[in-house]
Symmetry: C2
Amino acid sequence: MPQRKRYLFVCVNRRPDGVPKGSCAQRGAEGIHVQLKAALAERGLAKVEARACSASCLDVCWAGPVIAVEPDGYFYGRVTPADVPEIVDALASGRRVERLVLPPEDFTEATAAPPLPAPPRGAPPQA
Amino acid sequence: MPQRKRYLFVCVNRRPDGVPKGSCAQRGAEGIHVQLKAALAERGLAKVEARACSASCLDVCWAGPVIAVEPDGYFYGRVTPADVPEIVDALASGRRVERLVLPPEDFTEATAAPPLPAPPRGAPPQA
């Protein structure tokens, strides 16, 4: 298969419970990666348009789950499972989901908007 | 810290021994990620210029270890530990290491150049 037009790197880093900034995995990133990969395949986008990969820490833990969209060079943040269809729709039509794109101030914890709450321990995965 | 100018995604996917196309981890990618991360920090490049992340399969297993350099949108392939200083030097001066950049034919196994040999099982990590 050719080099894909885009690669979406979903941070799936997990920090121990209790670390104040939290982590993407703690807020459901692993499920989002699986869901995104399946959605791209279902839409016939996986072979040419975009590949969903998991990645180690992207250093914006407080804004997680985050997805680096490359080579466009922007990050989606505070992504929930409910956002995945809209992300894939936008990708298919060459757009981006503006409400999820992290502004520069979100890359620094001190100036970032509030994080998503972490799901309670033992909660079932979000679908 | 700000969004870095570049993110280097080192595939660290591992396939079972005996799979013909091999995998990046089988050819030493995990060590290359660690080495790259340390080299960027030592050169003072980690906070602004570039972040080294690990990633799941980038679907060019036969050309591994591979590194996606984003947002530039090119892939390094058949990377060895000996290549890391040159990769970091190039990054520091806004260049790329042309001999390692994968051409389009390397993205398809049938047309790719030969893979690196996998190190023998039980071999010490390359340094």
